[in-house]
């Protein structure tokens, strides 16, 4: 990643055991990471944290990921922020829905290791 800029990542993921790995790995690679464990918390964090990219799980307790996505992409201040969907399901019609709502890409949890996740983050951010 570029040396002059420390990218800020907001991870919205309810599974602690997954979130921990992504966070630890991305931090070790020089990213600034903030976590949210559900949709409601994500709503709070997007107001407080000026992120560059959000890793967003689709199946979340309380408010689901697509709702969070909708909120981000319909907010004038936030709509240019990048969003990568995280899905356990894989290629499914829900992904299509996500793209229609403006997602910038998706990652299938059991197919992408943290390093691939990082590469995709950098790709979406255009580095």
């Amino acid at each position: 990643m570029s040396e002059e800029k420390k990218y800020k990542v907001l991870i919205v993921e309810d599974e602690e055991a997954l979130r921990n790995v992504y966070t630890e790995y991305l931090r070790s690679e020089g990213f600034e990471v903030v976590e949210a464990t559900n949709g409601e918390e994500a709503f709070e964090k997007i107001e407080q944290f000026d992120f560059d990219i959000m890793l967003l799980d689709i199946m979340l307790p309380k408010v689901d990921g697509l709702e969070v996505l909708k909120k981000v992409k319909s907010n004038i201040k936030l709509k240019d922020k990048k969003v990568l969907l995280l899905t356990a399901l894989g290629r499914d019609s829900v992904i299509k829905e996500g793209f229609e709502l403006g997602a910038d890409g998706y990652l299938i949890k059991d197919q992408e290791d943290p390093e691939t996740v990082k590469k995709n983050i950098l790709k979406v951010l255009g580095s």
């Binding site: 599974e15 055991a17 997954l18 790995v21 992504y22 630890e24 790995y25 990568l84 356990a88 399901l89 894989g90 290629r91 499914d92 019609s93 992904i95 299509k96 793209f99 229609e100 997602a103 910038d104 890409g105 998706y106 990652l107 299938i108 949890k109 059991d110 197919q111 992408e112 290791d113 943290p114 390093e115 691939t116 995709n120 790709k123 979406v124």
Partner: protein
């Protein structure tokens, strides 16, 4: 008795009377069967006017037979099929040999052999499913009737749905723990790259292989439920088919060579076309891994053919071959279920691979098949229509913003 000489009017009359009675009884019997039977039965003549309308039909369509007989069928009989509830008119299927002229390919596939329909009556669209059967009866060139029966298959359909839902939920619930194990294992290896001993790395590799297998089975089950629930999505993009084929063969070659098999690459090229790369690779991988799995000596030859409107890929092996009987079962769901999850040197399989491949190809408007003789090896092939442009717009958004991903293992 000298019956052949007895032509008295009285005798003829008696004979006529008894035949008439027999006929009458026969008609009455047929009529009773027709009215009493639980199936909905109605018939139309060659101008699609109703000729027969039994009591079950009266119940289901909420209209009296006396009202509808002689009237145009499509005025009273409203049947719908498919996910989009398309209207099915009697004209669409009665007296037809083939449905291909009336329906688009997609619709014909939806109707398939199933002919599953829903009924609309004065109370609205009924929450029931019927299987439609029809038979054309031709009395003469201009005298024909089509008899249609509807059997209530709601229970069957509901059970099927429940089963699909169960598979869907079960496999989804399995996906999360699999991702957790995979991701944490990756991190563990990442952090302990230099400190692991050779032996430990070896055990770790076994864990990886096992996980990969588990993951594949769960993904197969999920694909099945997607296919059955109509949630299956294709992601087409312009792809160099020849390069895809070569890289897929390369990824499988090692196992084949280890078994002492010769692998022959295609000697022709077909160029680029719009195709779902990941699914294309999945289908070819499936055929290749089957070929390697079931071939003990000899080799595997891969061919590609440019057939103008479509491309064809074939995988020929020198394995044991498959009997005609077995060939018929190959592409069905859980075709190997009777053997259970049989263990092979290359891992367990669910027997779903060919069924999934067939379903994917159906979505792609392609086809898959096998030619084989016992003792002479097998050739599995699949074909995909060539398309220089994106076939449909429905996945455009996904395609344009898709991220390069590692190919499904």
């Amino acid at each position: 008795m000298s019956a052949q000489k007895d032509f008295s009017a009285k005798q003829i009359l008696r004979e006529l009377y008894s035949k008439n009675l027999e006929l009458h009884r026969e008609r009455e019997r047929m009529h009773q069967i027709l009215t009493q039977v639980a199936e909905v039965i109605f018939a139309v003549d060659d101008s699609y006017k109703i000729t027969v309308f039994n009591s079950s039909a009266e119940n289901v369509f909420k209209v009296k037979g006396s009202v509808v007989v002689g009237k145009p069928a499509d005025k009273y009989i409203k049947l719908y099929f498919g996910n989009k509830d398309k209207l099915l008119k009697t004209k669409d299927y009665c007296f037809k040999d083939s449905l291909s002229k009336t329906f688009s390919n997609e619709e014909a596939q939806e109707l398939g052999g199933k002919f599953r329909v829903k009924v609309l009556n004065s109370k609205g669209l009924l929450p029931l499913y019927f299987k439609l059967n029809y038979a054309n009866i031709v009395f003469g060139p201009k005298d024909k009737e089509c008899v249609i029966s509807l059997s209530n298959i709601t229970e069957e359909v509901e059970l099927d749905k429940q089963k699909d839902e169960f598979i869907s939920i079960a496999s989804h619930e399995l996906k999360t723990p699999i991702s957790i194990v995979k991701t944490n294992l990756w991190m563990f290896k990442h952090l302990s790259k230099e400190v692991l001993e050779e032996k430990q790395t070896l055990f770790m590799r076994e864990v990886d292989t096992g996980l990969e297998r588990l993951s594949k089975i769960v993904n197969n089950l999920l694909d099945i439920s997607r296919i059955e629930q109509g949630r299956f999505v294709l992601e087409e993009e312009l792809a160099d088919v020849d390069a895809l084929i070569v890289s897929t063969i390369k990824s499988m070659e090692e196992v084949a060579i280890k078994k002492g098999l010769k692998v022959v690459y295609p000697n022709k090229k077909v160029g680029s076309m719009y195709v779902d790369k990941e699914r294309f690779v999945e289908i070819l991988e499936n055929l290749l891994s089957n070929a390697v799995k079931y071939t003990e000596k000899g080799g595997i030859r891969i061919n590609v053919f440019d057939e103008g409107k479509q491309i064809k890929v074939s995988v020929t092996d020198t394995g044991a071959g498959i009997s005609e009987e077995e060939q018929k079962k190959l592409f069905k769901k859980f075709s190997r279920a009777q053997e259970g999850l049989k263990q092979h040197s290359l891992g367990a399989s669910t027997g779903l691979g060919l069924y999934i491949s067939k379903s994917i190809l159906k979505e792609m408007k392609g086809d898959i098949g096998v030619m084989s003789k016992v003792g002479k090896g097998s050739t599995f092939w699949f074909s995909i229509p060539k398309s220089k442009i994106k076939r449909k717009d429905k996945t455009k958004k996904i395609r344009s913003s898709i991220i390069t991903k590692s190919i499904l293992a």
